[in-house]
């Protein structure tokens, strides 16, 4: 019997080391991907918050894992060399310490959470002198509508932005809840019907960044993604003028057509947008999404 217990004890230790290797592999492979490969100040700051929190916690979690395994192995029943202290059930000093350690960790982390919540509040304008570009985002069943109110154009399923310019996004939904998320740019935020959320993001360098809805919204969910194309400022202006030159008009009738459920819509642009469309959607002056056809 003692032999099997020792074997099991060793098996526990061996299993744990495998887990360690696995965890290390994951960390290595995950570095340099998506939200860990930031393309803007918000996602960069959020990655820093993530890593700082992780470091603070690993400082306690790793010793706890190691200690758990060591203690279990050292005090295995077959190890008669280890002292048996069946009355060791209470120690004021130890209990003070074991309450203090997690409390201290949370003290540090709490501070981090408090300050970073304010610094990275989605609705807080980015600390830069460049005038932000206004973009109004409407989630529909199942496509994204991006309205550029200053330029009078709109785009479906493709968000074109100038690199290096902060974006002032206002988000709403025409139907069910959605989450607007471009991992490489940063914070996600809910799009809700009858409400407008505010989100500031920025792409630092040109590139194509995947964006998608992060909340289940029905059958078309998996296709509800879009490319965020960050381009140089002059290329952005060229895109705006090209869009203004041709394409349909987004008036109330065109918007009503968008309310019908459809997915996998190829990106296209509207040459002009009826002024105040976004506010009309938020204020529910226009009807909500139609939902599935009634049989």
């Amino acid at each position: 019997m003692p032999v099997t217990q020792a074997v099991t004890g060793r098996a526990v230790a061996r299993g744990a080391s495998w887990l360690g290797v696995l965890a290390a592999l994951i960390c290595l492979s995950a570095c340099g991907r998506a939200e860990l490969e930031p393309a803007g100040p918000v996602s960069a700051a959020e990655r820093k918050v993530l890593f700082d929190s992780l470091a603070i916690m690993l400082a306690i979690v790793i010793p706890v894992i190691v200690a758990t395994l060591l203690i279990a192995f050292r005090f295995r029943a077959s190890n008669t060399a280890a002292p048996y202290r069946p009355t060791f059930t209470h120690s004021g000093r130890i209990e003070l310490i074991i309450w203090s350690i997690p409390a201290l960790v949370i003290f540090f982390l709490g501070g981090l959470a408090w300050t970073s919540s304010f610094l990275l509040d989605p609705a807080r304008p980015l600390p830069t002198r460049v005038k932000p570009l206004e973009v109004q985002v409407v989630s529909l069943d199942w496509k994204w509508l991006f309205i550029y109110p200053d330029r009078g154009v709109a785009s479906v399923n493709r968000l074109v932005v100038p690199a290096g310019v902060p974006l002032h996004l206002r988000l709403t939904s025409a139907s069910v809840w959605n989450v607007f998320w471009v991992p490489q740019l940063g914070s996600m935020l809910y799009c809700m019907h009858g409400m407008a959320g505010t989100l500031y993001l920025q792409a630092d360098r040109p590139g194509v960044y995947q964006g998608r809805s992060a909340m289940i919204n029905g059958d078309g969910f998996a296709d509800m993604h879009f490319d965020t194309e960050a381009v140089a400022t002059q290329d952005f202006e060229r895109w705006v003028s090209t869009s203004q030159a041709s394409g349909p008009t987004l008036d109330d009738a065109a918007y009503r057509a968008l309310l019908r459920q459809s997915s996998n819509v190829t990106p296209y642009t509207y040459a002009s947008v009826r002024p105040g469309l976004f506010d009309a959607i938020v204020m529910q002056e226009l009807p909500p999404g139609e939902g599935p056809p009634r049989g």
Binding site: L50, L54, V61, F75, T89, I94, W114, L189, G194, I216
Partner: protein, 670 residues
């Protein structure tokens, strides 16, 4: 539609054109028929009716709860395999499940795993062990207990019925409006979800009332609060949470149902409705729910660690304080489920920090288990392996949980696979491992023989490795920007990880096969693995002071508790004095509650009502409700609620138990 006597029900409700649900539904149906016929042919029917279906014995009800949980685990796990298979296949491809079906699968998976696996299993173990640990004969309201169980079974039945008749919800395990409103979910799926949860929720609430009363009011003489086993403390905390939180769930779903049935606008986001209210309300229940599950799990870990370390639990008072602290704080953190709603930095930061604070008492618990092992004689039984596997894995789940509690980090992790990996990392090692440990631990108490250890250890390693292979990739793809619930995807970096996750789920499958084999092998060789002493693990609390399986009345004479570990105390004293007790106790007749079919009949009517409401069949719903009410009235009018076991019978049963124990003691002393 209103004029049809069968409401919305049509032949189209049957999946005649969809092979997957049709075949699986039919095979389950055939299997059930075969099972029923076999039971009747073998003549087991009357026995099952008398001893199990109508039983109000907390031990039998506990066993039935665990059985329900195990069966539903298989169902929920099939869903898991289907999802993993879909995500392995659906790279640049539609896979084999269309979105409408895939969405039902993940909704059913979550619903079943939380409401009909974790909940019944946790409640089942509490049912079985708490009255024994408290040294009493039953729970406070035995018939109510039976009704609770059967209402839970109704919920499970309705969810599974949706597989064949109609459809299940496609909105996830929590039906967020407006997606769950009639406009966007016109089918019966959400109705199936709501009525299944409403009916089983009533049962759960009654369980909460029952157990709070039992623990506060029924304890063996001398069993004061500071002597209660840790599992009883955690059960108390969990049931207090049930009593406080489940009414919120019921009210919230009732409002959603009013929206869907009677055109109210609580959560519609039009005409004054507000879906953010739903989000707040559902998580005001949902977050405590997490602790309703995990606190009893912590209790099980405490019992197992102390028993297999041969030491009392370290820092008992700290543990009690930590448990009750978690119980209270868990009500103050619900907003961390939607930091990304845009509530503003003050609100987010306050809720983020409150959520982190829960990590403090939880961390204390981990340290206390460590110090329980410290200076002990740790026996690496399969149960202890579950504990160590839990401690090592759960701290990582806790770590990722605290990461998610930092609002700006959550802005990048929310609703991603990282989040999904996090809660599987807490629920599987945190709750499910505890359920398996508790199942192995109390199995001999329930059935009189121990489970096979070798297969139990196989199951543990397969589950542990399978869990990490299945869910470590979840963290990775989450950080790579993969959202949850994707029916198909085009991102090549996710693919390898999803294949690894698919392999992981197969390893877990092997673990489940090992567990089934363990049960079968153990039953077949039960004669060689009998527990004749009632104390197979050298236990410390009162459930080991009676026979395995215990007599219907649990204890011939209620034990007199003088210590924090009553049975350990008795054994130490007996070892010192070399005998159990000098004189035989004075036996008295025992009054026990009569078995009653009330619970079962209520459940039949509840099923009818639920089904009728789902399909808008008015007359049938009224019939079902009337039937349930009549059942209640008949029960309330009963004349004979109890029967008496004469003292000679009590003495006869107890003497044989004492004889076995005395023999064991002699062996110990040798």
């Amino acid at each position: 539609m209103k004029d049809r006597p069968v409401g919305k029900l049509t032949w189209q409700a049957l999946p005649l054109h969809e092979p997957i649900p049709l075949i699986s539904g039919l095979s389950v149906f055939v299997l059930l028929i075969v099972l029923v016929v076999w039971v009747l042919l073998k003549g087991y029917g009357p026995y099952l009716w008398r001893e199990w279906i109508t039983s109000v014995d907390h031990k039998r009800i506990g066993v039935m709860y665990c059985l329900l949980g195990s069966l539903m685990l298989l169902r929920g796990f099939i869903d898991a395999i289907m999802m993993r298979a879909q995500q392995v296949m659906a790279f640049h491809a539609p896979g084999y499940l269309p979105p409408s079906h895939f969405d039902q699968i993940f909704s059913a998976h979550g619903t079943i795993m939380i409401f009909f696996v974790a909940m019944p299993f946790v409640v089942g173990l509490m049912n079985f062990a708490v009255p024994l640990q408290l040294g009493v004969r039953d729970v406070a309201f035995p018939t109510l207990n039976s009704v609770s169980f059967w209402l839970n079974a109704v919920g499970a039945l309705l969810v599974n019925l949706s597989l064949v008749v109609g459809e299940f919800s496609r909105t996830g395990w929590l039906p967020y409006p407006p997606l769950s409103e009639l406009r966007y979910s016109p089918g019966v799926g959400v109705d199936y979800y709501c009525w299944a949860i409403q009916l089983s929720g009533i049962g759960t609430l009654m369980t909460g009332v029952n157990f709070v009363t039992t623990i506060l009011k029924l304890r063996a003489p001398g069993m004061n609060y500071s002597r209660m086993p840790m599992f009883c403390w955690t059960a108390l905390a969990s049931n207090l949470l049930i009593v406080a939180a489940f009414p919120i769930l019921t009210a919230t779903l009732a409002m959603l149902l009013l929206d869907r049935y009677l055109d109210f606008h609580f959560f519609t986001d039009v005409q004054g409705g507000n879906s953010m209210m739903f989000m707040n309300l559902i998580w005001a229940w949902g977050h405590p729910e997490v602790y309703i599950l995990v606190l009893p799990a912590f209790g099980i870990y405490s019992e197992v660690t102390s028993t297999f370390s041969g030491k009392p639990l370290f820092g008992y008072r700290s543990m009690v304080i930590a448990t009750m602290a978690i119980c209270i704080i868990s009500f103050m953190v619900w907003l961390h489920h939607f930091f990304t709603m845009g509530a503003g930095p003050e609100v987010n930061a306050v809720f983020g920090i409150a959520s982190m604070i829960i990590a403090v008492p939880t961390g204390v618990k981990i340290f206390n288990w460590m110090f329980t092992m410290y200076g002990g004689r740790v026996r690496f039984s399969s149960m202890m392996l579950w504990v160590i596997g839990f401690m090592v894995s759960f701290v990582i789940g806790g770590l990722t949980g605290v990461l998610l509690a930092v609002p700006p980090a959550d802005f990048q992790l929310h609703n991603s696979m990282f989040l999904v990996a996090h809660f599987h990392n807490t629920i599987i090692p945190g709750v499910v491992f505890a359920l398996f440990a508790g199942y192995t631990y109390w199995f001999p108490k329930a059935f009189g023989f121990v489970l096979d250890e070798r297969l139990g250890k196989w199951a543990f390693w397969l589950w542990l490795v399978g869990f990490w292979v299945a869910w470590a990739p979840g963290y990775v793809v989450g950080l790579e920007g993969m959202t949850r619930r994707l029916q198909h995807y085009d991102d090549p970096q996710w693919r390898p990880w999803l294949i690894v996750a698919g392999i992981g789920v197969l390893i877990i499958l092997a673990g489940i096969v090992a567990q089934i084999a363990q049960l079968v092998v153990s039953i077949r060789t039960r004669e060689t693995r009998r527990d004749r002493t009632g104390d197979p693990w050298d236990g410390r609390s009162l459930e080991w002071a009676t026979a395995s399986p215990p007599p219907i009345f649990n204890f011939a004479v209620l034990p007199n508790v003088t210590d924090h570990e009553p049975y350990w105390d008795i054994k130490q004293k007996a070892l010192r004095e070399m005998q159990l007790a000098t004189t035989e106790p004075e036996y008295a007749p025992i009054e026990m509650p009569r078995n009653t079919p009330t619970g079962f009949i209520t459940a039949v009517f509840a099923t009818v009502t639920g089904f009728a409401l789902i399909w808008h069949i008015g007359w049938l719903a009224i019939l079902g409700l009337a039937g349930a009410y009549v059942t209640f009235v008949v029960f309330a009018w009963r004349d004979h609620a109890e029967f008496v076991i004469p003292s000679e019978e009590v003495a006869r049963i107890d003497r044989s138990n004492r004889e076995a124990r005395a023999g064991y003691l002699r062996e110990l002393a040798r």
